[in-house]
């Protein structure tokens, strides 16, 4: 059976990369004694599928994983076995059964919301935002290729925090295959050092 898990990746796993997260899920299922389906062949791999890679250093409460099990089990039972096996840093949000032939997660994601907490706030932040948003294109270079960041920014606003929490930027960036807006690129365009922020993914759009 194919199950879809929505989960949080929290502080303890903030610095675990995509491949290592994949391996952490495999081990979680193994601890839970839930029989993951494995691929055929010489090097069988567990059938696990993550929707959208979360960059190193980010946290999230909207990550999505598809997992294939060798047997059919009631969702409640799966959850009861999985929950105690979760490592620090992974929290279950919800779980559902998905049609085996549903399209792959990666092809469904359209865009993502991020909350960027600012540990230091530049005095002229609002004007930097205004300049950025009024630009028709923002040419940037990544891994030797130049691209336009502007069309990938679907939404961007500055939000003053209610209490003593740091102020933050709320943004929605494209997250389609081949057209991904990266929060760290946005920060670079705004002249804010990445290490002076905390980035949290809050929502993925497009998954049925």
């Amino acid at each position: 059976m194919r199950i879809r898990i929505t989960f949080s990746k929290t502080e303890a796993m903030r610095y675990t990369g995509h491949l290592d997260l994949h391996r952490t899920w495999e081990r979680t299922f193994r601890r839970a004694a839930l029989p993951l389906a494995y691929s055929q062949g010489f090097h069988p791999q567990p059938r696990l599928n993550l929707a959208c890679a979360l960059p190193l250093g980010f946290t999230s409460h909207c990550e999505v994983l598809d997992a294939w099990l060798e047997i059919d089990l009631p969702l409640a039972e799966i959850e009861a076995q999985l929950s105690p096996a979760l490592p620090p840093g992974l929290v279950l949000q919800s779980m559902a059964q998905v049609d085996n032939h549903a399209p792959a997660l990666q092809t469904q994601v359209q865009s993502a919301d991020y909350t960027v907490s600012l540990l230091d706030t530049p005095a002229d932040l609002q004007s930097r935002l205004d300049t950025l948003l009024s630009s028709t294109n923002i040419l940037r270079e990544r891994r030797g290729k130049s691209y336009d960041l502007r069309p990938l920014i679907e939404h961007l606003e500055y939000a003053l925090a209610a209490s003593d929490a740091p102020p933050c930027l709320l943004t929605r960036l494209a997250a389609r295959e081949g057209a991904t807006g990266r929060p760290e690129e946005l920060l670079a365009a705004l002249g804010i050092p990445f290490e002076n922020t905390r980035i949290h993914r809050t929502r993925l759009y497009g998954i049925e």
Partner: protein, 634 residues
């Protein structure tokens, strides 16, 4: 002022996003143990002086972590060295080396235990002390500083590090760590000077306190004698052993990032009965003790439940010699069938039976098949006491290739005593013959990876009297191999001769080496085990400034009666046995597997009572039948 854990956390917040693999520095993994700092009386930090990726795979520290954290009155936390970029960032931000569990500066712990399994960690250990703000020299530490102890295989010659370590554990740590913690607790209550703590530690079996001894040198630089400065200081310091291997740890910390051995390690057997004359581990880990099949399988099961690992390593110095290896492999195969579990079974003997073992572990055909002939000519194999016939090796290779492995790894060593260029040529010839066998079976798919390391005459082995090859000799031998083994299907690897020299100086050194290590570290030597950071000129300069000749330590064969710097440390194996074995090697005589016949290495008379109390096959030594046996003094 020492930073608080909260201050360290806040500073880390800003620098972690800027360094490579920040997951090395956060802790918080599954199965880490976090205890309340305030209410736990004794705080022990366990430091592996290399990066997390390497240190997390060290079974010794995992065992001690488990042992200590089971006590309600003590806590153990981990620390590793930062990589270059993180070290620079930490120094810039004044962050001391801290523990992963609670982010306390290492300077705040009661005891700092450093693992020293190999010599190229020495400068890292100094660097770690420096990063932690702990005085490097033991003599400069006060009551407020942690007690700095070290253990691991290198401590069988502790002298090069004597100036930096307060007390060394010689031998196995599972029991002695508790006695050290107890001694520390008693001392802490007493408020006596630090020297009293050291004196009480020296009374514990297996603990060596270097300040209680003084070596006297002869004019030629060799040692005349090693004088105990305290009436109660043991002479020799006998290594600690456990009579029976304690229950294997099963609640391993599961890293969130990849590490070198990212798997469950289960030690099935400690020690080796083969007696290869170059082998340090084989001499210092006697007697051979085994875990039962049921115990091993249950440990694997529990560990898999706790960790979810997809791979296990069944560890020993010689898997084929584990008495119940067939039964074990069968039991593992049955109990974990269909679980997609990879099993690694290292150190197999060169015989077709080994392939049957590997075949039985179906899922484990991941990498290549590894065999260690160590030498290629029959003459040389007799000298090193590892007799395997060439025909046997070729037959095994043939079987390996025909049963589905395309890559065979062969480990050899050059620089064995009395080795000639013909013996090295024999390695090349043998490699070609092995590959030819492979090609007969699977054609051009056959691959051969020979790994050729260089022999270092290690302390406490029958070869401790032997001289090392010079760099020029090693280079000439390596050049021959590189020339002869130029083939697209052969991937030859070798050891940098300069690194071999460093390891040889450090493993054979006396107390005067401490100054060399210190100077080399000051000149920037660190991460010596990492090829790209190895700083040979720093070591050469350090020797020159200390007025010492490196060749004195490495290129000199010793008279049979020379007093070694490690003479006051006893492995339980008698010097008489080592001498006899050395002389036998000179005439090419072998002594096969001591399970068949006891060669009286000295272990049994040293540990007679222990053996009598633990009869049966948990030890591979002969039984002690008589009720009263006189302990033979070395």
């Amino acid at each position: 002022m020492v930073l608080t854990p909260e201050e360290i956390y806040l500073r880390l917040e800003r620098i972690l996003p800027t360094v490579q693999k920040p997951g090395r520095y956060t802790g918080g993994e599954l199965n880490q143990v976090v205890k309340d700092w305030q209410s736990t009386p004794t705080h022990l930090a366990l430091l592996f002086p290399d990066i997390y990726d390497i240190g997390m795979s060290n079974l010794g520290l995992a065992v001690l972590y488990d042992q200590v954290n089971q006590r309600p009155d003590a806590l153990a936390e981990r620390a590793y060295l930062p990589w270059i970029d993180m070290e620079a960032a930490m120094r810039q931000a004044d962050i001391p080396l801290y523990s992963l569990e609670t982010r306390h500066s290492l300077a705040e712990f009661d005891i700092l235990g450093i693992s020293l399994p190999y010599e190229t960690l020495y400068t890292n250990a100094l660097n770690a002390l420096h990063l932690a703000g702990i005085p490097l020299f033991a003599a400069e530490r006060h009551n407020s500083h942690p007690l700095v102890i070290a253990g691991g295989h290198t401590t069988f010659n502790p002298e090069p590090m004597h100036a930096f370590i307060d007390a060394f554990v010689i031998g196995e740590g599972e029991e002695v760590i508790h006695e050290i913690i107890h001694a520390h607790q008693v001392w802490k209550q007493s408020q006596l000077p630090r020297t009293e703590l050291l004196r009480s530690l020296s009374k514990i079996w297996g603990v060596y306190v270097p300040t209680l001894y003084e070596p006297h040198y002869l004019p030629d630089g060799t040692i005349e004698r090693i004088e105990p400065l305290d009436d109660n200081a043991p002479r020799p310091v006998l290594k600690r052993i456990v009579p029976v291997l304690p229950p294997a740890p099963t609640r391993f910390i599961v890293p969130y990032i990849d590490t070198v051995h990212n798997r469950v390690p289960v030690e099935i057997m400690r020690g080796c009965t083969r007696g290869c004359r170059f082998c340090h581990a084989g001499m210092i880990n006697r007697p051979v003790r085994q875990r039962g099949v049921e115990e091993v399988v249950n440990a694997i099961e529990a560990a898999l439940q706790h960790t979810g690992y997809e791979e296990i390593g069944l560890l020993s110095l010689s898997s084929s010699d584990y008495t119940h290896i067939v039964e074990l492999v069968k039991a593992v195969g049955q109990r974990f069938a269909g679980k997609h579990l990879a099993v690694s079974l290292p150190s197999l003997r060169i015989e077709t039976f080994s392939i049957e073992l590997m075949d039985a572990l179906r899922d484990s055909r991941r990498g290549g098949f590894t065999l260690a002939p160590e030498a290629a000519s029959e003459r040389m194999r007799a000298i090193i006491n590892k007799p395997v016939s060439t025909e046997q090796l070729l037959e095994t290779a043939r079987q390996v290739y025909s049963r589905g492995w395309t890559t065979l790894k062969l480990y050899f060593m050059i620089g064995h005593p009395s080795e000639t260029i013909e013996d090295v040529q024999a390695i090349a010839d043998l490699c070609k013959a092995v590959l030819a066998e492979g090609r007969k079976v699977i054609g051009r798919r056959a691959r051969l990876n020979p790994g050729v390391s260089t022999f270092i005459p290690k302390p406490h082995t029958p070869f401790q009297w032997v001289s090392c090859d010079t760099i020029e000799q090693i280079q000439a031998k390596q050049a021959l191999l590189k020339r002869e083994l130029r083939d697209r299907d052969i991937k030859l690897t070798w050891t940098n001769p300069q690194e071999t020299m460093l390891e040889a100086w450090l493993s054979r050194g006396d107390r005067r080496m401490a100054q060399v290590i210190y100077r080399a570290w000051q000149k920037g030597a660190k991460l010596d085990a990492w090829q790209e950071h190895f700083n040979y000129p720093a070591w050469q300069e350090a020797f020159a400034e200390a007025g010492l000749d490196p060749a004195f330590y490495t290129h000199r064969s010793r008279p049979i009666d020379e007093v070694f710097p490690w003479e006051h440390i006893s492995t339980g194996v008698h010097r008489k046995y080592l001498t006899e074995d050395y002389l036998m090697s000179l005439s090419g005589e072998t002594r096969i597997d001591c399970r068949q016949q006891c060669y009286a290495c000295g272990i049994l008379p040293t540990f007679t009572d222990m053996r009598r109390q633990h009869p049966g096959e948990v030890w591979q030594c002969p039984e002690v039948k008589t009720q009263k046996v006189t302990v033979i003094q070395e």
